[in-house]
Amino acid sequence: MITPFSYLGLLRLVLPQAIVVIAALCALSVDLMFLRMSETRLRCSVGAIISLAGCAAAIVWIFHAPQSANVLDGMLVLNHLAQRIQIALLVLTMLTILIFIGSTFTQHVSEYLALILLATVSMMFLVSTQNLLLIFLSLELLSLSLYILTAFNKRSIQSVESALKYFLFGGISAAFLLFGFSILYGWSNSTNIVSIANSIHGPSLDPLLIVAIVMTVIGLGFKVAAVPFHFWAPDVYQGAPAPSAAFIASGSKLAGFFIFYQVMVIGLAGAEGSSSWHAYASGWVPVIAIVAALSMVLGNLVAILQTSVRRLLAYSAIAHSGYMLLGILSHTNQSLHALLYYAITYALTVSGAFAVVALVEEETGGDTLSHFAGLSRRAPVPSFCMLIFLLSLAGIPPLAGFFGKFYLFSSVLTSAEGTLSLLWLVVLALAMSAVSLYYYLKVLKFIYVTDPPTEIAPMRISALRQVVLCLIALSVVLLGCAPDLLLHWL
């Protein structure tokens, strides 16, 4: 039953989102009204500054006035954790915008920035709701923004093709998700996931509920690019403009995993089942276990054969989704924190990696391994940052990726299902991490060892980009050396 609530109070609660929307509108209107005749560079800078200011203002507001609320039948659930995730999403958005500055793939900079900000707004709603309706709406807003962001490079046939694939695939997934949600609604007569959990009883599950579970997993699995719902990812990562790809790989993934965790652990509590060897029980945990295992194996194996660094990062993203699904699978408080630590540090690292890819593409016109040959001699600073990013992705101490994996895997080992019952998944994950080291090192080998094919000239890289890269690399090292900074902050 929905209790009435004043709009003014509601506006107070969603003020950060409102600020970001206003920033998006400002960026659009300033660009369209005053800067129509200016050159792209200036428009890009002004739009970016307005967008960054909007995000910063939202962050300041969240810090300034922390809220705690659960209104309108779970439509808006604000708590400490959700707001911290919102801040993380805003920071990732700012990084994406910083990567975007100086890009040349489009004339329509303000539209691009506005779409990014709208996607951010949808993600902020996504992490602050426990209502199926609003989850679906936010997801659709996010997906639609991302489809357009993917297709934004209109001069590239690849960009358009991948966006179309993304759209088709996303549409089908959304259909699955909506179907699943509707069954859940029919089952429980409520769209609040807490109420849904209350209506699930008994050890054996109704086949209808199973269908709903699988459909939900498909819909959300698409969002986080888990096998076998990952097919869009390689094409999109390859075809989309670099800032879009970074955004899809970082912010969207963090939001997706958070809501995945919410829906599964809160909404389907009571239908977990078990995936340990000796105490198997039907439920969503076995589904996630299968999807996670498939993601780890397929992502890592296929990444070996890739020659395009973007596709390689796509498959590595699929593999990392597999690792992160383990955090949902073990569904303890500790594993949630480990998952969020992993997702945030992964998002940071992968946006940094895409920033380097963007640089290389602009200079050499491609993203295959051979385009990276001898990069260290042309651009030492980005090369070193790439070294840090890739080693962090591979999980080498003392970088953030190592501690992410460590916390995640140890939280899985001490999960609610009993000590060591999920050992087989952790062993698989460790083995696959070892495999992953191979393809990350392959990239580094091209950067540091292989000779460049032609006469080399030092790259001209703007100071801003170098500073952004160094900041990301520094934070990756810092969070690796002092993981408590982030863990306590969450």
Binding site: L164, K165, L168, V214, I218, F229, Y280, A281, L301
Partner: protein, 701 residues
């Protein structure tokens, strides 16, 4: 805390610093090295006097007489190992004695060693030796004491072998080092045992030290497998260290041989420092030695103290007997030292710290006097050491004769005016009232008789009668052959002032020191036990002291008379003639001259056994262990060959195959991604169906 207690470490540190600096000095910087050594020793002496005055002041006030300064040294695990130093009457007396005698010997050495080319090195070693001994004296930790103790052992090795080009000196140095090492091993074991039982090696640490009541009670209560208290076992092991260092039977063999070193070294080793260290150690750990289960604090005889007494008494007589038949002037003194050390041990055993230490102090003075006098004689007779080749030196070396005679009378225990009389008498008196047995008393009395006898013999040989120096060339083993410039039968001469002045000072001390410990005014005893001494002439009449004094006086006179009867009645005519005692009792004389064949006995038993064992070990090493090592190495080679083959033919292809499989699998998976969206969506549909069917099937099962 008082300045002197906190900075007591300066006393050993100064000579150590001098040793370090002169080690860096060049060989020709003689004056620098000597003045550095003497200066540092002088400063240490002044500091020691200051410490002594402080100890005197404290004991006069009747306060706690033991003042300690402990500091943490190193940490292992959760425990700190602490070291420290202490100032009590015993330490202060020893400090003054060591620095004073050491200072005189240093001054004397400048004259004695004036012509030696390694003069600088000699003073470096001497300083280090003195530093180590002073370290032993001030230690408040058995570990620190042991470290300094080992340093004493090392420097004694260096000094005895100072003339290392002489094979006898090199052998003597080795012998001294190895023999004392046997005792030190037992000492080390005792120390480790003590640490494991008491948990600390500090002597005094505000009630928790290992010599304090609570620790001692624990040690006494602990019994070992053979029914002996742990305290007794530890005490006996530590005593074994003292036996080695102080030349007690059966580890006395190194001490006479150590006479191969330069004479100042002999004086330093046999009077003030090294041998005194053993006696001092027993005095230091006396509470452990005397620990017993009873609650009374009165001196009672424990097993450990009985052992100390018996070993001391046997040594006293044993060495005195050997001394009777020796011809080398320094060897006689060496055996005399062994004998006197036996007295000190006996004194510790029967009478307590004060009795033994009193004799140690008086002996330090008159024995260094005798050694330095002997050095003067040797110097004056151009490196002649055989008393049969001397004689008549009284007219050539009057000062040396006078001082030597003083030392001889003190050593013999000539009544009333000489310090040796009082200190020896205290020991004999304590032995006489010892409740366990009277035998040590009789042994001590016999030793006193022998002492008077052999010293009289020595005096007659060396100073009286006619000079027999001209006979030296008939002796095939004479040492003068090495010195052609001295080969002419020159007349003996008096030594330089730098040598005679220390002699005179020491002679004065040899007389005067006796009066600090007479029965009438037992100041020394009171000082060590922290009480006030009162003058009481009736002290002579108490507890049967007077009969003991009278009997020992008689004994001394009998000894002197016997000496006169054998050697003084008719002058010794020829250097090659038989000894008077030899004429009387040839067999006994030969037995004594050959030192009871102890060296030969050791040669025939322990050393032969050792040689045999080393041959056996050698054989084992060559045949068994070597063979085992070779076998192992071949096995390892074989294994590595096997490992290489496995690697080449099994693992590598396997790994390659595995990689190939991974790649093939990846290629198959890549084929899924064929770019057709219809295909992708179909796969999603299939996945949906499979997952649902799987879940339902597994749920039903």
């Amino acid at each position: 805390m008082i300045w002197i207690v906190r900075n007591l470490w300066l006393i050993p540190a100064l000579p150590a610093l001098a040793a370090g600096l002169s080690a860096l000095a060049k060989q020709r910087n003689r004056r620098f090295a000597a003045s550095l050594a003497i200066g540092s020793m002088g400063l240490s002496f002044l500091l020691s006097l200051f410490a002594f005055a402080h100890a005197l002041h404290v004991s006069g006030q009747g306060k706690q007489v033991i003042q300690v300064f402990n500091f943490p040294w190193l940490q292992y695990g959760g425990e700190w190992l602490k070291l420290g130093w202490m100032l009590d009457p015993l330490t202060s007396v020893m400090l003054v004695m060591v620095t004073f005698v050491g200072l005189l010997i240093f001054i004397y050495s400048t004259g004695y060693m004036a012509h030696d080319e390694n003069f600088t090195r000699f003073f470096c070693f001497l300083s280090l030796f003195a530093a180590a001994m002073l370290g032993v004296v001030i230690s408040n930790s058995l570990l620190l004491l042991f470290m300094c103790w080992e340093l004493v052992g090392l420097t004694s090795y260096l000094l005895i072998g100072f003339w290392y080009h002489k094979p006898a000196a090199a052998a003597a140095a080795k012998k001294a080092f190895i023999t004392t090492r046997i005792g030190d091993l037992a000492f080390l074991i005792g120390m480790v045992w003590l640490y494991s039982q008491a948990g600390t090696l500090l002597f005094y640490d505000q009630g928790t030290g290992c010599l304090e009541r609570s620790a001692l009670m624990g040690l006494v209560a602990q019994t070992t497998c053979i029914g002996m208290a742990a305290s007794t076992g530890i005490a006996l092991l530590i005593f074994a260290g003292a036996v080695g260092k102080s030349g007690q039977v059966p580890l006395h063999v190194w001490l006479p041989d150590a006479m191969e070193g330069p004479t100042p070294v002999s004086a330093l080793i046999h009077a003030a420092t090294m041998v005194a260290a053993g006696v001092f150690l027993i005095a230091r750990v006396y509470p452990l030695m005397a620990a017993h289960g009873g609650t009374s604090l009165a001196i009672s005889s424990t097993t450990a103290l009985q052992v100390v007494t018996w070993i001391g008494a046997i040594t006293a007589v044993f060495a005195a007997l050997i001394a009777v038949a020796q011809d080398d002037i320094k060897r006689i003194l060496a055996y005399s030292t062994v004998s006197q050390l036996g007295y000190m041990m006996m004194g510790l055993g029967v009478g307590g710290v004060a009795v033994g230490m009193f004799h140690l102090i008086t002996h330090a003075f008159f024995k260094s006097l005798l050694f330095l006098g002997a050095g003067s004689v040797i110097h004056g007779c151009h490196e002649e050491q055989d008393i049969r080749r001397m004689g008549g030196l009284k007219k050539f070396m009057p000062i040396t004769f006078a001082t030597y005679a003083t030392g001889m009378l003190a050593l013999s225990g000539f009544p009333l005016f000489f310090s040796g009389f009082w200190s020896k008498d205290a020991i004999l008196h304590a032995a006489q009232i010892w409740t366990i047995s009277r035998v040590p008393f009789y042994l001590g009395t016999l030793g006193a008789l022998l002492t008077a006898f052999y010293m009289t013999r020595q005096i007659y040989y060396v100073f009286l009668g006619e000079s027999r120096l001209s006979d030296r060339h008939n002796m095939p083993h004479t040492k003068a052959v090495d010195h052609p410039e001295h080969s002419a039968p020159a007349t003996p001469h008096e030594s330089p002032v730098s040598m005679t002045v220390p002699l005179m000072i020491l002679a004065g001390c040899a007389i005067l020191l006796g009066f600090i410990g007479t029965p009438a005014w037992p100041w020394f005893d009171s000082f060590l036990s922290g009480q006030q001494a009162t003058f009481n002439i009736t002290g002579f009449l108490e507890g049967g002291i007077l009969p003991v004094m009278l009997s020992s006086t008689v004994i001394v006179f009998v000894g002197l008379g016997l000496g006169w009867w054998l050697y003084g009645r008719k002058p010794i005519a020829s250097a090659d003639g038989p000894d008077a005692l030899e004429q009387l009792q040839p067999q006994v004389f030969h037995l004594l001259r050959n030192k009871f064949y102890v060296d030969e006995f050791y040669q025939a038993t322990f050393i032969r056994c050792n040689t045999w064992l080393s041959h056996l070990s050698d054989w084992f090493d060559r045949r068994i262990w070597n063979g085992a090592v070779w076998t192992v190495s071949y096995v390892v080679l074989g294994l590595s060959w096997l490992a290489r083959s496995t690697d080449n033919y099994l693992v590598n292809p396997g790994f390659d195959e595995g990689c190939h499989t991974v790649t093939v699998g990846a290629k198959f998976l890549v084929r899924l991604q064929n770019g057709r969206t219809q295909n992708y969506l179909r796969l999603v549909g299939i996945a949906f169906a499979v997952l649902v069917v799987f879940l339902i099937w597994s749920g039903v099962r």
